[in-house]
């Protein structure tokens, strides 16, 4: 019997059976397969995913390996290298920040739900996965990111462009830097200008994700954000209770009205594990956000426990995902980040290009 020749097109045909579970398309038509090499009976290639934080990475690796091993005669060994390149959603070129692929707004219905803690931990988790990440603290009322990220120093101005501070692998800019220890007592137009400068006047460089920590509720800063840049999507942080009280819904509707896709809801302070007896207490109730997400058809990204370690690590400037990466709370944040990254990738393939054709 003549030995079957392994060709690139046979390998690709076999790989067409591997589906990306989120984008609902096969990995060949998604153009994920790169650098294929065939040496006799050994096939090697890269699978270039849409995010390094992909939660189904290992599953896709194994499926790709099996598909080629069993689907292409003559193959004895398959080497799959998993890589990632964050895709940029199609949006008008003129109004976007140069080099920044995705802008993720983190909002909440009211203050005190842990929005900044969630934003900081998501940003650090994304950076830990290998992505290039920026974090913009746009909370003029209580800029807390510089404390949570223990960033020393302040951004410098070079040739009229602000150089962001870097902490834990994340590029930082905060409204808190604009006033030192003085409170920001701003009328709307000042907030508007400051945010525009923080978005467009900062040398962000090449970023896969820019996470924007918004003030609570709905207001000037939110409007400026959605009018200045095409926001890839928004995350709503809520406690089980404020969803029950319909407060988060207003923020959610604001994003809907301005056509910012909702990437999902995170339930923070979801439950409390007593350090003395190990009993679980649901202080603010439980499951409110999951129910709301389901009713609204918005992805539910996960639950973060009310854990003293999260608070302690935030206060000391090293987010829990970095300080205690194996803890339950860190794992909860990683899970939320993975689901969020999936949703962002989905948006990158779904968004409709908004370009005005001039005739």
């Amino acid at each position: 019997m003549a030995e079957a020749t392994v060709t690139e097109s046979r390998v690709l045909d076999a790989l067409r059976s591997v589906m990306d579970p989120d984008l609902k398309r096969d990995i060949v038509s998604l153009n994920f397969i790169r650098n294929m090499k065939i040496e006799g009976s050994v096939v090697s290639f890269d699978v270039n995913l849409t995010t390094p934080a992909c939660p189904v990475k290992e599953r896709l690796r194994e499926q790709s390996r099996q598909a080629v091993l069993s689907g292409v005669p003559g193959v004895n060994d398959v080497r799959v290298n998993m890589t990632a390149e964050v895709r940029r959603p199609p949006a008008p070129e003129a109004s976007r920040i140069k080099g920044v692929k995705n802008i993720i707004a983190v909002g909440s219905g009211k203050g005190g739900v842990g929005k900044s803690t969630v934003a900081a931990n998501i940003a650090v988790s994304l950076a830990r996965s290998g992505a290039r990440v920026g974090l913009l603290d746009a909370d003029i009322y209580g800029p807390s990111i510089p404390i949570m990220m223990r960033s020393s120093g302040e951004p410098e101005m070079r040739e009229g462009v602000i150089q962001p501070v870097e902490a834990h692998g994340v590029k930082l800019m905060s409204m808190g830097y604009m006033s030192g220890e003085m409170p920001l007592i701003w009328r709307g137009p000042m907030a508007h200008k400051a945010l525009q400068q923080s978005l467009l006047g900062v040398s962000w460089g090449e970023l896969d994700y820019l996470v924007v920590d918004l003030p609570p509720g709905t207001g000037d800063v939110h409007l400026t954000l959605v009018q200045t840049v095409p926001v890839t999507g928004a995350v709503i942080v809520s406690t089980p209770q404020d969803v029950g009280l319909q407060i988060s819904m207003k923020t959610l509707r604001m994003f809907q009205q301005t056509k910012v896709p909702l990437l999902g809801i995170v339930e923070n302070m979801s439950f409390y594990i007593c350090p003395h007896c190990g009993g679980r207490d649901e202080i603010f109730g439980h499951g409110g956000a999951a129910h709301a997400a389901e009713a609204l058809g918005v992805p539910f990204l996960g639950e973060i426990p009310l854990d003293p370690a999260i608070r302690k690590r935030s206060d000391s400037g090293v987010p829990v995902v970095l300080a205690e990466p194996d803890s339950g709370s860190a794992r909860a944040f990683s899970e939320v980040t993975g689901k969020l990254a999936q949703q962002i990738s989905i948006q990158a393939f779904r968004n409709i290009p908004l370009t005005i054709i001039e005739e």
């Binding site: 009018q227 056509k259 054709i357």
Partner: protein, 108 residues
């Protein structure tokens, strides 16, 4: 007020035709053609519509027939903003608003 499904307020194509105005094709298949004077007279900004009463203060009849759109830009994901030849530029026309004021026979 009439609310539209998502598809009806999401454009699939936006064209600016020189001298004629703006043509938007929507995801639900409908197409809207907006003349420059009509758009200028439908401006939703606070100078053209009273913020307290909601009453329109500047409408199409106040606008010169020769008005044209000098430039158009998108605002975030949700709206368009125009620079008219009379210098007016403050209106942010959300896609929802544009669909609501579609002047075609079927909609009007």
């Amino acid at each position: 007020m009439l609310t539209f499904p998502e598809q009806a307020t999401t454009p699939s194509e936006i064209r600016k035709k020189s001298g004629e105005g703006i043509v938007i094709r929507w995801l639900d298949g409908h197409a809207s053609t907006f003349g420059a004077r009509f758009l200028r007279g439908s401006c939703p900004c606070a100078q053209c519509v009273s913020e307290t009463t909601g009453q329109r203060m500047v409408s199409e009849e106040h606008i010169a027939p020769s008005v044209s759109i000098e430039s158009a830009r998108t605002v975030g994901n949700y709206a368009l903003q125009f620079t008219f030849s009379d210098g007016h530029t403050t209106g942010i026309y959300s896609f929802e608003y544009l669909r609501r004021i579609c002047p075609c026979e079927e909609c009007a």
